[in-house]
């Protein structure tokens, strides 16, 4: 079985005054159609750079990125971002402030007939549970609502692959957990393939079928959540998962205590 997304031994680097600054080295992963993958790692590990390369904003210096068997990026050239059929949800949502919610969702549907476009906008807003806000402007919505508009907008043109760049980091803890599950349900219901980038382990485990633990521009293990827990590839992964799980546990105990204190 061929993977839908095939990242094959890519190297990514930035142009700086002092020459090329290597960010990601020898990075590979494959993602099947309908799967949700996640790149998990501390800030500065290169996970966002990988996402930007898949979107077509960063050139690959070596290796290649292919989608559905077609090469998107290689040192020989890149397909322009607008021709990739790749959607993206941004950390700051990137909703166009001068357009209404409906116009935002319709932005990528320019080539469709008007009636079809209107139907698709209504369908997408219904999917994310925001059928009534089509005429509002983004700034009139809450953070969580903006988030869902961003999802509707990214899915409207039916991309082959959806990229999510730290999509929940600007939300408070409660909204974040609820939305992570919601997003997973929507993606699974519509059969979309997606990659999420995050530094939050709970988020990664809540949403992803496969998780890649990243450090210093390399991928340490690309596996199911179960295997990461029970069969870590090396000490780094084991330590990373354990430490974060501990922090998570501690946070929960603390929260429970706080709730009890508040109840008294």
């Amino acid at each position: 079985m061929t993977a839908l997304l095939d990242i094959d031994r890519i190297h990514l680097a930035y142009d700086t005054a002092a020459g090329l600054h290597s960010v990601v080295e020898d990075f590979s992963l494959g993602l099947e159609r309908g799967e949700i993958g996640c790149l998990l790692g501390a800030s500065g590990c290169g996970k966002t750079t990988v996402l930007r390369a898949v979107a077509g904003f960063e050139p690959v210096r070596r290796g290649s990125i292919s989608l559905d068997g077609a090469v998107l990026s290689s040192p020989a050239g890149m397909v322009l971002p607008e021709r990739r059929r790749v959607g993206m949800m941004f950390q700051d949502y990137a909703l166009f402030p001068h357009l209404t919610v409906g116009e935002n969702v319709a932005f990528g549907l320019r080539r469709r007939a008007r009636a079809e476009r209107r139907a698709r906008v209504a369908e997408m807003l219904g999917l994310v549970g925001l059928a009534e806000v089509g005429d509002s402007y983004p700034h009139e919505l809450s953070g969580g609502q903006q988030q869902r508009v961003a999802l509707a907008r990214a899915l409207a043109p039916e991309p082959e692959l959806l990229l999510l760049d730290e999509p929940f980091s600007n939300l408070d803890v409660d909204t974040r957990e609820r939305l992570a599950f919601e997003v997973r349900e929507i993606l699974k219901a519509t059969g979309h393939t997606a990659i999420l980038v995050t530094h939050n382990q709970a988020e990664a485990f809540a949403i992803a079928d496969r998780i890649g633990v990243m450090a210093k521009g390399r991928i340490a293990q690309w596996d199911s959540p179960y295997n990461l827990h029970h069969h870590p590839a090396d000490d780094f992964v084991a330590e990373f998962i354990r430490r974060d799980a501990l922090a998570d546990q501690r946070a929960r105990v603390f929260e429970r205590g706080a709730r009890k204190a508040a109840a008294r």
Partner: protein
């Protein structure tokens, strides 16, 4: 999930076919770079042409200039710059500190009123004061009446038509440049720094001299350099007041003696001053970045009481009254008197007003389009290896503001003549008739000159506007299937609308009141409000000049309001 394994060979061939169709890694930046380069060359053309024209004169020529014209003009220009420099620094810094450190009645109004003289072009303030301070005019008459004299022969103020007079009128309309930059700097200075100085045993005056002023020095340098560039640009005031500066020499050398080489040689001399002032401004701006401490608690002004408050208010309002109130009221009174007596304005003045509107509108459109191209080129090239080229273009393109109008116009004479020749030859070859002077004979040459001179305004505004558009909006648009140019049209242009509106206002008003370049490049029998006023003043017939001047000042008030809102955050 996924395709069947049997599809693999087919897939491989598809990969191959697609790889061949991969577009080369160019983001359409090449076209923008080309546009920006062409614009930069257009800005450089007049300087290059000046050098060429200057070298066309013989050596005897130059020695004549060096012996008889330059020494006087150089001395006058240097003295004028020095005098205006002292006046604008004292007035601008003093006023800025007064409204920052002290609280007194009318302070809030004064804070923006101090900008009003910016609405009065230098040639208009000179025009107004020549009449106001005339030995038999209203001011001197009042003084004599108060002192009990009955003839100008017994008492008169020093003649305004002198170097001192020029320093006086220029200083009082140009100080807002220093006031604005310095006031913004004082506003962002952290109170804690000044309070620290107080706890270390420094008095109020000591805080100003030892902390606030040194911190504000870069801002003063920026404002000072802008005010002096305006002084160098001025032609009307110096000429009305009889001060033979370099600018006036360039103008008379070309207009009365048709001596292009000589005019170009003097213009090149002026460029030395220009370069020095640009260096001063750049130096100030570089240092300003480090001295800025934003988002800190600003200094609370000290409440003044009784006599001190009255004194502060009087001192603070003097620059406003001298630089704006008196000349504006004079123009208003003269206009009312004129309209009352004649019952309307002449057709010639109306034609001048129509010309002004048409040419300023055309210049605004061209300047905005060019500024958009330069700024957008800089933005698209940011992530590519061609960045240095793009940045160099943006730098060069923004240099036009520093070229005095007279220098720019003399520099454009040769390129325009060449362009007209080429167009005529081409036209003749195609249609069999020569159309005559297209560039010089119509307003085209004037519009291009304005665009070169005011390009910095539109480029700066668009750059600042673009900086506020997050990169993620652009990326989102691209991933939703929109091309680079489509993204500019559907995302950036709508978001840039406020910045573009502000820039058009500034360019329009600047084009409307431009005098030095207009005098040299306008077509035959073509008058704008500014040249109309100049002609009236030069003839000494003050008939409808006040009406034209009032129209220019009224239009000039709009950008001042804009400036007060954006820079001093007044009215928000």
């Amino acid at each position: 999930m996924g395709g069947p394994p049997a599809g693999l060979p087919r897939m491989t061939s598809r990969v191959h076919a697609l790889s061949l169709r991969l577009p080369v890694r160019a983001e359409g930046g090449a076209g923008w770079l080309l546009a920006a380069t062409l614009i930069a060359l257009a800005v450089l053309a007049p300087v290059a042409a000046l050098a060429w024209a200057a070298s066309g004169g013989s050596l005897a020529h130059w020695s004549h200039l060096a012996e008889f014209v330059l020494p006087g003009a150089l001395a006058n220009t240097a003295l004028l710059l020095a005098g205006v420099g002292v006046v604008v620094t004292l007035l601008g810094t003093g006023a800025a500190w007064l409204v920052t450190a002290c609280d007194f009645p009318t302070r809030r109004t004064l804070t923006w009123a101090l900008l009003l003289p910016l609405a009065v072009p230098t040639y208009i303030v000179a025009f107004a004061y020549l009449d106001l301070l005339h030995p038999i005019g209203p001011v001197q008459g009042t003084i004599r009446a108060l002192l009990g004299y009955d003839s100008p022969r017994q008492f008169r103020l020093p003649d305004l038509r002198s170097l001192g007079g020029a320093v006086f009128v220029l200083g009082f309309v140009l100080y807002p440049y220093v006031y604005l930059s310095t006031r913004v700097m004082f506003m962002t200075q952290a109170a804690s720094l000044l309070e620290a100085a107080r706890t270390l045993g420094t008095g109020r005056l000591g805080v100003f001299w030892r902390v606030a002023l040194p911190l504000a020095r870069p801002a003063i340098a920026v404002g000072l350099s802008l005010a002096l560039l305006e002084t160098l640009n001025d032609i009307g005031a110096s000429e009305f007041l009889g001060v033979q500066t370099l600018t006036v020499s360039v103008y008379t050398t070309w207009v009365t003696r048709t001596d292009l080489a000589g005019a170009a040689q003097i213009a090149l001399t002026m460029l030395v001053f220009v370069v020095a002032l640009i260096l001063l401004e750049r130096h100030g701006r570089r240092r300003q970045r480090y001295a800025n401490a934003q988002r800190m608690r600003p200094m609370p002004p000290r409440r003044l009481g009784g006599g001190m408050a009255a004194l502060a208010a009087i001192l603070g309002w003097i620059p406003v009254v001298v630089g704006f109130g008196a000349p504006a009221l004079y123009l208003l009174a003269e206009t009312v008197k004129r309209l009352h007596r004649v019952g309307g304005v002449s057709d010639a003045l109306l034609a001048g007003a129509a010309n002004t509107l048409a040419i300023a509108t055309a210049a605004t459109v061209v300047t905005l389009a060019a500024g958009l191209a330069v700024a957008w080129a800089g933005r698209t090239l940011r992530e590519s290896s061609r960045l240095p080229a793009g940045r160099a273009c943006a730098r060069v393109a923004s240099l036009g503001y520093a070229l005095p109008g007279t220098v720019l116009a003399i520099g454009l004479l040769v390129p325009y003549a060449l362009l007209d020749d080429a167009l005529n030859t081409l036209w003749h070859a195609v249609a069999g008739v020569a159309p005559g002077l297209i560039v010089m004979g119509s307003g085209v040459g004037l519009v291009l000159a304005y665009a070169i001179r005011f390009l910095a305004i539109s480029t700066g505004a668009v750059e600042a506007g673009l900086a506020r558009v997050p990169a993620s909006l652009e990326q989102a648009s691209r991933l939703l299937g929109e091309s680079a140019s489509g993204t500019l049209r559907r995302v950036h242009l709508p978001l840039l609308r406020p910045a573009l509106a502000a820039a058009s206002l500034l360019v329009f008003v600047d084009a409307m009141k431009e005098l030095p370049a207009t005098l040299l490049l306008r077509p035959m029998n073509f008058d704008t409000l500014a040249t109309w006023l100049y002609a009236e003043a030069a003839r000494g017939t003050y008939e409808e000049g006040a009406v034209a001047a009032l129209a220019i000042v009224a239009a000039g008030l709009l950008p001042v309001i804009l400036l007060a809102r954006t820079q001093l955050k007044i009215g928000h």
